[in-house]
Symmetry: C2
Subunit: 193 residues, 2 copies
C-alpha cells in the first residue's frame, strides 16, 4: 500500500480520532460506525487504510495509546536516579490515571480484540519496556548506594508493574486512586529499606 501525503494524514486522523473517542467516552461497544462518525470519514476509508478491518485498526490505536503511556511518564521514568525523582515519577503516574478516571483506553481495546496474538504482543511489549525502565532505575540507585544491593532489581521492578496495573484496575471499578498510591508508596518504602 503506497500512501500519499493526504493518505497518511487521513490514516493518522482515524487513529487519533479513535484514540480520543476511547479516552473520552464510555467503553461499551465501540463500533466502526462510531469511529467513522467521529473522524469524519467513510466506511471505505477505514477499510482502505486498515484492510483487516476492526482488528487492524484497533491494534494500531492500541500501539498509539501504548506509546503515550510511557511518554506521559517522561522525563521521570527515564531518570530514576534520586529519591526526589522517584517521588516525581510516582506523582506523574497518580495524576495521569486520576485524570483518565474510569476509562482505560487500552483496557477497552483489549476487551475488543483482547485475545489475539497481536493484542497480547502490544501489551507485553509495553509492560516489558516499562519494567526495564524501572529496573534500570533501581539498579542506578543501587550503584549510588541509595538502595541496598541485596534486592533483585528485576523482581522488584516486576512487583512495581504488577502494583501499578492492579492499582489502575481497582481505579476502574472504584474510581479511587487509593490502591494505586498504596502500591507505589509501599514499594518505594521497600526500596528505601
Amino acid at each position: 500500500m503506497a500512501l500519499t501525503t493526504k493518505g497518511r494524514a487521513t490514516r493518522q486522523r482515524i487513529i487519533e480520532g479513535a484514540a480520543a473517542y476511547l479516552r473520552s467516552d464510555e467503553p461499551v461497544g465501540v463500533t466502526l460506525d462510531d469511529i467513522r462518525a467521529i473522524t469524519g470519514t467513510s466506511k471505505s476509508q477505514i477499510f482502505h487504510y486498515f484492510p483487516d478491518g476492526k482488528e487492524e485498526l484497533f491494534l494500531a490505536v492500541a500501539r498509539y495509546e501504548a506509546s503515550r503511556v510511557l511518554e506521559d511518564q517522561q522525563p521521570h521514568l527515564g531518570a530514576l536516579t534520586s529519591w526526589a525523582a522517584w517521588d516525581r515519577w510516582r506523582e506523574s503516574i497518580v495524576t495521569r490515571y486520576r485524570l483518565q478516571g474510569r476509562h482505560c483506553p487500552l483496557g477497552t481495546l483489549m476487551g475488543e480484540v483482547g485475545s489475539t496474538p497481536g493484542a497480547r504482543e502490544v501489551i507485553t511489549t509495553l509492560l516489558g519496556q516499562w519494567q526495564n525502565h524501572v529496573r534500570k532505575g533501581i539498579a542506578d540507585m543501587q550503584e549510588s548506594g541509595l538502595v541496598r544491593p541485596a534486592l533483585d532489581p528485576d523482581r522488584v521492578a516486576a512487583a512495581f508493574i504488577a502494583g501499578i496495573q492492579g492499582g489502575v484496575l481497582v481505579l476502574m471499578s472504584t474510581g479511587s486512586t487509593t490502591h494505586l498510591e498504596a502500591a507505589l508508596d509501599t514499594l518505594i518504602a521497600h526500596l528505601r529499606g
Copy 2:
C-alpha cells in the same frame, strides 16, 4: 417469582454451566446461545430465571465466581497469623491462578457488562472483603510482634490487592505468574521488614 425445587435446580445449573464455560473456554463474545447449548436449556428458560436477560445472568455468574475466588484462598486467607501461613496463602494464590491460566472468568464478565453499577458493585465488594482479610492478617501479625507497628495495615493490604490484581492481569497477557509472584514476595518481604 416462586421457584419450585426443579426450578431452583435449573437456575443453578445455568449459573454453574455458564461459569464452567467461562472458566474453560476463550472469552471472546460469550452469547446466550452458547450458554443455552452448554447448559442444555432453552431460550425461554434463561429469560424465565433471569428476566433482565444477559446482564442479570452474567451478574449472577459474576457473584458466583467472586465467592469462589475467596473460597479458593481458604483456610489460609482467614488465618494469616504466622509467616508459614502467609507462605501457604501465597502458594495457594499462585497455584490457583497458574491453573486458571490466561482465562479470567471475572475479567470476561466485566468485559461483557463491565460498566454497569451492578458489575462494579460485585468487584468492589469482592476486593473489599479480600483486603479486609489481609488487613486483619497484618494487624494480627503486629499484635504478635512479628510485624513492626509502624506499618499501616490497611494501606499495605491495599498494596497487596493491587499487586495481586496486577499480577493476574499480567498473567493474562504473558501467561506467566512471574509478576504475581514478584508482587507477593516483595510485599511479604516488606512485612518481614
